[in-house]
């Protein structure tokens, strides 16, 4: 029987379920002309959830429902940022959805369910819970990608995502079953204790490999990255923004839960595997991004490379490395919301602003949006003093501390490769002449402009004042 304590520990999640169900009802019974308020209600719902997470933050790790659910500092930080990123997505999405007649209640409900999936996933204390959270997140995402159902590109992306996603879930589940077979437990904490004594170490490693496939797929790391470009390009941009921000935080949380809290004792096996995946992701992501002409697709390949850098932190397999990887995940989420936010801000009815060429001469037409995008690009490229640089610096340091100098050097080389296509976007915006039918100053949606500006300026401010965030990340992994 769940105790009151269990429910209190899960209060933010319970609240979010209830709110999402209420929203669904509200949407059904609302008059069409009042539907606009759904947007504001959803944002308030998420902000309240954020408040509940922060206010109920426990001093020590607490568990609920028989250790199924773990509430610790790492999960709290990831939840807060995932919720905030979803809020950003909502704010940026409204004009886009209205212009395209996609402003429907399902978008908000599904988003909230997906965010709930993120929250459950990062708090999972049990393999079953990991799977449950992951499925809630991905099933909602499949539907979200297909939201624009009249667009063949969206439908194609959704099918692709679904087929590959189902396959990877299967792999993950298969790996989990193998690990269960070798240790006899699904509980992550017990698993951690059982791994060294397992009578079947080979079976364990076998299971680990399958689980890694699932993790790599979720992160979008090469060679399990094939879905990323199509989904990023095919999904409507708000959904892409979500997949590139909150969803990546979840992927980091899942990787950490499974690899460290569950299979930490197998680190000598997964370190090298992750290192290889990391180099592959950086190489494929950065090299293929160079030839993209579609901005969303380019950002998709850039995601793949960033996941490679994130993995560099995990490769370290120590608290410092996890802290740097988490810092990287948060940093990446904030950068990608800016980049996609600008795309959403410049899109208008009948114009997606998806091609890099659409940004030609943006500095002449809309200097402010050009500046915000330039901040995002320089940050993604890892040029100081922007936020992205510090994240890169921390993961490179983590690789060196793990005595993997070659990995750090590979990261450095691919950072140079990556620089080119980010600079190319800046070049197009600042040095080229504007073209007819290109991006212009979009319809002013005040709330969006303000929030997007703050989001972008945060990249600059956090570039100077990144100590506190790093402090939280480190603290959550027990470092001073």
């Amino acid at each position: 029987m769940p105790t009151l304590n269990d429910i209190l520990v899960l209060l933010p999640e319970f609240y979010l379920v209830a709110a999402a169900c209420l929203l669904l009802l509200l949407d059904a019974f609302m008059k069409p002309e009042q539907r606009g308020t759904l947007h504001w209600i959803s944002i308030v719902v998420l902000l309240v959830a954020t408040y509940l997470v922060i206010a109920g933050q426990p001093d020590v790790t607490v568990t609920a429902f028989g250790d199924m659910f773990v509430r610790d500092q790492t999960s709290e930080i990831l939840k807060v940022f995932a919720l905030l990123c979803t809020v950003l997505v909502f704010v940026y999405a409204r004009p886009y959805l209205l212009d395209r007649k996609l402003f429907v209640g399902e978008f908000y409900t599904l988003m909230i369910f997906a965010t709930l999936g993120v929250m459950l996933l990062v708090s999972a204390g049990n393999l079953v819970m990991v799977y449950l959270g992951l499925e809630l997140l991905t099933l909602s995402s499949y539907a979200l990608v297909a939201l624009n159902r009249d667009s063949p590109l969206s439908s194609e992306a959704a099918i692709k995502y679904f087929v590959l996603g189902a396959l990877s879930s299967g792999m993950l589940l298969y790996g989990m079953s193998m690990v269960y077979g070798a240790t006899g437990t699904l509980d992550l904490a017990q698993l951690h204790a059982a791994v060294p004594q397992s009578a079947m170490p080979h079976l364990l490693v076998f299971g680990l490999i399958f689980m890694l496939v699932g993790i790599a797929f979720k992160l979008g790391a090469a060679p399990f990255h094939m879905w990323i470009p199509d989904v990023y390009q095919g999904a409507s941009t708000p959904v892409t923004t979500f997949i590139a921000s909150s969803s990546k935080l979840a992927a980091f949380g899942m990787a950490w839960r499974l690899l460290e809290t569950g299979l930490g004792d197998l680190s000598q096996h997964w370190q090298l595997m992750l290192a290889v995946i990391s180099v592959l992701s950086m190489a494929i992501g950065n090299l293929v991004a160079i030839v993209q002409s579609n901005l969303k697709r380019m950002l998709a390949y850039s995601t793949i490379s960033h996941m490679g850098y994130l993995l560099m932190g995990l490769v370290n397999a120590g608290p410092e490395g996890y802290a740097s990887a988490m810092f990287y995940a948060i940093c990446y989420a904030l950068m990608s919301t800016v980049a996609f936010g600008v795309i959403l801000g410049l899109a208008r009815a009948g114009f997606e602003c998806e091609e890099i060429a659409d940004l030609k001469g943006l500095n002449q037409r809309s200097p402010w949006f050009a500046a915000l995008m330039a901040l995002a690009m320089f940050s993604l490229a890892g040029v100081p003093p922007l936020f992205g640089f510090y994240a890169k610096y921390l993961v490179l340091q983590a690789a060196i501390d793990a005595h993997m100098l070659w990995l750090a050097l590979a990261g450095a080389v691919f950072a140079i490769v990556g620089l080119y296509y980010y600079l190319h976007v800046v070049k197009v915006m600042y040095f080229d002449k504007p073209v007819e039918g290109g991006a212009e100053q979009s319809a002013p949606d005040m709330s969006m402009r303000v929030v997007l500006s703050l989001n972008a300026l945060a990249l600059l401010v956090l570039g100077v004042y990144w100590g506190p965030l790093l402090g939280w990340c480190r603290h959550s992994f027990g470092l001073g």
Binding site: N363, P384, P385, F389, I400, I416, L423, K427, L470, G471
Partner: protein
């Protein structure tokens, strides 16, 4: 205020970029005046460095240190010695001249141009006084962003190619320096430069770190064979961009050598001195010949910059040879001092040369030497300044160009007469390309009808060129104050060279 003088110098221009940017494209004059105001304020503030700095005592002074990232022991650490102060003054002076020089020239998006200049100025000053390696790296890299925009937006026809090459080339060098710094941090647990200087390192470690540092700084200087970005960047950059690039940004490379290679990896530095000396001599001799055949004035001056910077790297690394192998500390000091004087002098001379080319370009919109000729007939005042700077460029005694080169040649003679012989080639080659340039541009008959319509320099241009001329002459006739300012700092650097770290 004096406790935070260095911070003020960094952040005043950067903060000034905000109101300049807000002036918007509709009010270019407001942007210009605001930019000038902030540049002058920064210059005035930088003058306070001189009374605040105790030149006799030397060493790092005016120190500021705040914990930046507590959990990683990263500090916001600033301090300045004589060398830093000389370079900061160079930066603030050039800053004013660049803003005045661009006054009417930059008509398109003036506010963004001025804001980029201000931001660049603050970041360059930051490089010259950071005592924490991470902070140094942040300033070092952040400089690229405004320069990238400056060349790309206001540059010539091939500006996009040039600016991308500039950015990626420089980034390529510095990212490996970052890896080296992270490795040092891994060993020492801090980025503090003084601690890193005391960190014992094996020779293998030193060698790897040395090459990482050398790559980063050699690209910035630039040294042969990684100099190819510079002619492109210079040719395409707007005049102001070229001036800042030549006058200040190149010095960041040699300054980095002083602060990183000398103290942190002295043993590897000694071991590979021959490499840098040979590369410097190639720069002096070979690049001099390359300059000779250029048809584009800006390219010619760009190549001559590479040759002159060769003297700086020669002066710095000859000091290794002299202290470690010959034990001749006095000559080492002389060489190092020559390198420092050459850095400052080249800042003014190259800045002035690029300004001159800018003056001509604004009138005729071509940089090709063959389009000019007989300029002295229509622009006598301009001719006066141009000849003066040309003389300084080829190192005529009495101009600043002479002092540094002479000291470096003298020092290298004590190390090895052959080095001195090759270095002294510059006096012939430098005179060759510079005087030939003057001959083709200024003297002779006017063969281009458009040249006949050119007007002599305006009051604004006279001010800029006059200021450069005064500085070039002052340093040439009476270098003593500059030498005195840097003397004790140079002595300490040379003393540090003698310490073995293995």
């Amino acid at each position: 205020m004096f406790n935070h003088l260095l911070s003020l110098l960094i952040w005043l221009p950067i903060a000034g970029a905000v109101p300049v940017l807000m002036a918007g494209s509709a009010r270019p004059n407001l942007a210009r005046w605001l930019a000038l105001l902030f540049m002058v304020l920064t210059f005035v503030a930088s003058l306070f460095l001189l009374p605040q700095y105790d030149a006799a005592r030397g060493g790092m002074q005016l120190a500021e240190s705040h914990l930046w990232i507590a959990s990683l022991n990263v500090h916001y650490g600033l301090a300045a010695d004589g060398i830093s102060i000389a370079l900061i003054l160079l930066t603030t002076i050039v800053g004013i001249l660049v803003v005045v020089g661009a006054w009417e020239v930059i008509q398109n998006k003036t506010h963004q141009y001025m804001a980029a200049m201000l931001a660049l100025e603050g970041l360059m000053i930051g490089v010259f006084c950071a005592t924490d390696a991470l902070l140094f790296y942040v300033f070092f890299e952040a400089m690229l962003i405004p320069m990238f925009i400056l060349i790309g937006v206001w540059g010539g026809p091939r500006r996009v190619y040039a600016t991308l090459k500039f950015f990626i080339y420089t980034f390529l060098g510095s990212i490996f320096m970052l890896i080296a710094l992270l490795y040092l941090y891994h060993k020492a647990g801090t980025f503090d430069l003084r601690t890193l200087a005391a960190l014992p390192l094996t020779f293998t470690e030193q060698a790897w770190v040395f090459f990482a540092f050398l790559l980063a700084f050699a690209i910035k200087v630039p040294m042969v064979p990684v100099h190819t970005w510079l002619p492109d960047a210079h040719v395409e950059a707007p005049t102001g961009g070229s001036v800042v690039l030549a006058a200040v940004m190149l010095k960041v490379g040699t300054y980095g050598m002083l602060r990183f290679i000398l103290p942190i990896v002295p043993d590897a530095g000694t071991h590979f001195t021959w490499l840098v000396v040979v590369l410097s001599l190639i720069a002096i001799v070979y690049i001099g010949y390359v300059a000779l055949v250029q048809e584009d004035m800006k390219k010619l001056v760009a190549y001559s910059s590479i040759a002159h910077m060769g003297f700086v790297t020669l002066g710095i690394f000859i000091a290794f040879l002299l202290t470690r192998q010959l034990g001749n500390v006095d000559a080492a000091r002389l060489g190092m001092q020559g390198a420092m004087v050459q850095m400052i002098s080249h800042g003014f001379v190259s800045g002035a040369m690029f300004t001159c080319i800018g003056v001509m370009y604004d009138r005729l919109h071509t940089r090709l030497i063959k389009d000019y000729g007989g300029l002295i007939n229509v622009m006598p005042w301009f001719g006066f300044f141009y000849v003066l700077f040309a003389m300084a460029n080829c190192g005529l005694p009495g101009t600043s160009g002479f002092v540094g080169e002479f000291m470096v040649i003298l020092a290298s003679f004590s190390a090895n007469p052959w080095i001195a012989l090759f270095a002294a080639f510059t006096l012939i080659i430098g005179a060759g390309y510079t005087l030939w340039l003057v001959k083709r541009v200024l003297w002779g008959e006017i063969h281009n009808p458009h040249v006949a319509e050119m007007k002599d320099i305006s009051g604004r241009e006279t001010f800029v060129l006059g200021a450069f001329a005064a500085l070039v002459l002052a340093l040439g006739i009476w270098p003593e104050p500059l030498v005195h300012l840097m003397d004790s700092s140079v002595t300490q650097l040379v003393q540090q060279l003698a310490i073995h770290k293995i």
